[in-house]
Subunit: 433 residues, 3 copies
């Protein structure tokens, strides 16, 4: 079903940023409620400005016989992003300066944006450079940069408190699979599953953003709100490919987001690696920028630079799978439920090991089995011994080699019997902190 | 000789807790002075109460032919601890719910206490379950729970200061070897060897306690005394079995007890591993509880959960050895002597490396050999360079890959020559801290 | 060329400390300006005193046939350092007590100084002990201890600030190669190369000292100056032998000296190991003594105790090489230039990732290549993201797996464009701190 959603989203024409983004959000909005916010061209945010909308009608390179050697209709990556319109006969030498290839991946079309100040350019397979043997070519780029709007999608679930958890996915550019559509698709499934839960302690915010400019714009308008409310956040990207996970920590490196994600990765037994925050990657670059320093990490499968097809036409449907995306949805939900059930308790009896009332705490039918008794006694003992105001449930579960979810029921039993009391006060629980 | 003591203690009848503990203490008291403290049934300590004394005259299961299928006289572990008296004909189905076995160790009788609220039960070898083929059985448990006393044994050596070092062993239940009698036997040998020393800087307290209830009761009466006086402490348990050591750290994890034990383990070259404090194990659970947080670790050989026979009838004489217990006594003495000789010094000449007076500091007959000279010079140099008020003798010995004991003589020589002066002030040395 | 300098210095007679040191300094002074400071015998510094000058005219052991079995003329190490004059017939037994050998290196003459309070002694090859078969020998030591001076050499380069970097080499005793002359030779080459640079931010001080007494005397006179001015320092010793490096940290272990040296060692890919500061080694012992605690490390190749020939006649010309010394000079210069270009910046735009102006920051001719663009963008992004007042250029370069030198140009570009501003204030930059 996730792959079907991928296929539907893939059919949306890539021609113009504005309509493409809006159609993507409308399609995802069939599954979960998404509000669209519009920002007109020229809207300022820090040193950035919402750009003109870029749209392409056609773009190609003609040889002397009028054959289209490179054609935008064949693949949207053939054109350098934000290339200006042009119609011009150029020498072979001049043309070659505007052609981008990846010699290490000769069958791929690289993804290039006009970062270097270049005005126009084409991208193509490296092995095809040999076809350019003539002296003159005609370049036709029928593109337009025009006033318009940039669209940001936003979803929200109100929990029992106003403390928020953020999930963020990028929806533009969307022609890639691993580093493109897998993110919003997985995020949408997490969103849908959370909608089915009642009794959520935290509120959840879901952002669907054009990469970089979208998150910077959102931060310029809502950064202070996020700073005051956010308990944890994750950028959902690169979630469809590979067998192992990569967790990229938030800038501060020891936030609740990091703690919960690392706890679940460790206890769930999946292969994973951990990398520090860096300003290379997805929108966590901006959430973690100095002025905001938000506790936003990114739980990925194979990450950006770790698969050779990254930023080429080979990052496509064949790399991602239904299973990989579903497993990632489940892992994210485990992380979020671990945050939901996390609490810092104080044990009420601290002189020696407390006497555990067998009737209230060991709800076994008939004579209990030795191992079951001992296992449950260990959980109770750890919870009571380490609930000293400094260790939270995740810490204690880690010591037991269990997940916070595994011991949530034991926490409830001890709280019910008056042996544990949450440390967090009313204010913190109301989300004010 | 330690095994002879083990054999004598093993002969003490296990029938009733009170007489059994008192006889055990009397026997150990032939080697070292032990004072017996009595606490009557019903004495309250936090949420615990000194229980009634439990004694068993006989207990067995009869089949239709009047054969005793399971008999307490064969092994005290056949009866679940603190089982109530009963005489009753039961169906096979009901009986099986009250039988405990270890399928993973089919030839062992498990040790079970009535933690789960169960009123009665028998323990037996798993392979013998096949013998229970009849429909009805008669269960006879002629036991008694009656008012009495719980006994705690205590020894003490007064040192030059009132700062105390605690050793603690459990003497009940005592039918096991590794997790049972090896502890009090080894502790008694350490106690005897310390009695031979003069000039001890610290005072030593030795506790012999029924597990859990004994230490919690002692803490309820003397916990504040221990908190104000204790420099270090160790639970002496699991000290007779296996080739390698396990050191379980005190709750705080970096106490003098931990530092000295880890120093000796590292420098002595024995195989060992280190585990954090946890509320599973011996009485260190209670010494390390939140209200007391005493610096009590446990230096063990093969520890509780690390040998399969733990908590079964297979934890018996065949697992422990004279050699293992003696080596552990020696290692404990090394640890204690390291604490005795530990000191924080301040070097008196701190500008460049001090000039070492050959006559006073190099007491060699004739021309000294180069290596001996260099080795001693290194010890002096390290002591003078790092005695800066933050490093103690253990720290400096560690840097030299020696033990604190190895460099004690060099410390004395430098102190005698006025090159080092102890930092600890009079108050601290008097044990007040 | 460095080996030629070694050969010239090796020819200086070792007879008397004073003239030997002065001639060594004069020879090195042909390459770089070195000022000689003289301190008369008896000058006090802490618990040390400038010793009398020791000179030897001749020294030998005669057998019954008048053959010289051991002769100072053959090798200066044959005589224990600072041996007193003597002329005496001794028994074989007495003689043997005054002979030093290295049984583990039977072909070497050990280096022995009269530390143990011994008045006289000879050193020789262990295998030659078998030659001493007669009953009586005549010992002739025609040596003199007389008033004189101890000489210290000093060089200085004034930089833009008064903050100083110290290099220190020992020039006495000088008869060894690895632990002897390699140090002052390499230091002199570093000094010469720094003289060629203009625009140095730091001032540089170069000390050439008799080991131990020289540095302690210098500290007694100039220690406070060094404490207030020194940014970093290195003892240049053991720099001619072996394929891998050893870095010995300064006492505090995390000084700028340590940070820069470890950064270059790590990023340059050479094999190396790191050891903590200790009071065994070279003059870093005294710079790191408690009263001064100067940030002085030592970047060595094979270090003191790590080659068997240390402190014997086998530590000679055959162990060291021109290539090893030159590589070490280069590595030291990399370290010093890293310190020169190190700075703590604050990014000026901290809300999200700053927009990078392609024209000013990407000075590529023609269309830039993708990889070059991305590489430079990564450097800019890291510099802007982590220039938060806590990370310096070394920290950021480390995150990029580059050296501080590699990214110096990018720093300048960002500073020029107003995107970075140095945090250090005017006072610190003036060297006052």
């Amino acid at each position: 079903m996730l792959m079907e959603l991928f296929d539907r989203l893939s059919l949306i024409p890539q021609g113009a940023a504005g309509p493409c983004v809006r159609e993507t959000l409308r399609t995802l909005g069939e599954t979960v409620p998404i509000r669209q916010r519009e920002y007109p061209t020229g809207t300022a945010c820090y040193d950035w400005t919402v750009p003109q909308e870029w749209s392409v009608r056609q773009a190609y390179i003609l040889d002397g016989q009028g054959r289209r050697l490179v054609d935008y209709r064949d693949h949207p990556l053939h054109l350098v992003e934000r290339t200006v319109p042009i119609r011009k006969v150029v020498s072979r030498e001049e043309l070659l300066r505007h052609l981008h290839t990846r010699p290490d991946l000769p069958d791929s079309i690289p993804y290039v944006s006009a970062l270097g100040g270049e005005d126009w350019g084409f991208c193509l397979e490296h092995r095809r450079l040999a076809e350019f043997t003539e002296d003159l070519y005609e370049v036709v780029i029928d593109a337009e940069l025009a006033e318009g709007t940039m669209t940001i999608g936003e979803g929200f679930i109100q929990g029992k408190t106003d403390r928020e958890i953020l999930l963020s996915a990028n929806i533009w550019p969307s022609s890639l699979a691993v580093s493109g559509l897998s993110g919003p698709i997985v995020q949408t499934m997490i969103y849908r599953k959370l909608l089915e839960r009642t009794n959520l302690k935290y509120s959840y915010r879901f952002l669907y953003l054009p990469e970089t400019i979208g998150s910077i714009l959102y931060l310029s308008r809502h950064g202070e709100h996020l700073r005051s409310r956010m308990a944890a956040g994750y950028v959902v990207a690169c979630v469809g490919h590979g067998e192992s996970y990569t967790y990229k920590k938030s800038r501060r490196g020891h936030s609740l987001a990091d703690k919960a994600a690392l706890h679940i990765l460790k206890q769930s037994g999946v292969p994973y690696r951990v990398v520090d925050w860096s300003p290379i990657g997805g929108d966590e670059r901006h959430y973690g920028s100095q002025a905001f320093d938000l506790p936003v990490g990114s739980l990925m499968r194979t990450a950006y630079a770790d698969y050779p097809e990254y930023r080429t036409s080979l990052d496509n449907r064949t790399l991602i799978s239904e299973v990989a995306m579903r497993q990632t949805v489940d892992l994210y939900l485990d992380v979020l439920m671990t945050i939901e059930s996390n609490e810092r308790y104080q044990a009420m009896q601290v002189h020696g090991q407390p006497k555990l009332d067998p009737k209230a705490l060991y709800p076994f039918g008939g004579a209990p089995r030795i191992e079951a008794l001992e296992r449950l006694t260990a959980v109770y003992s750890y919870l009571l011994a380490f609930s000293d105001g400094t260790h939270d449930v995740i810490d204690i579960a880690d010591k037991l080699n269990l997940t916070g979810k595994d011991i949530a029921e034991a926490c409830s039993a001890l709280e019910r019997e008056g042996l544990l009391r949450p440390v967090s006060d009313a204010a913190e629980r109301a989300g004010v902190l």
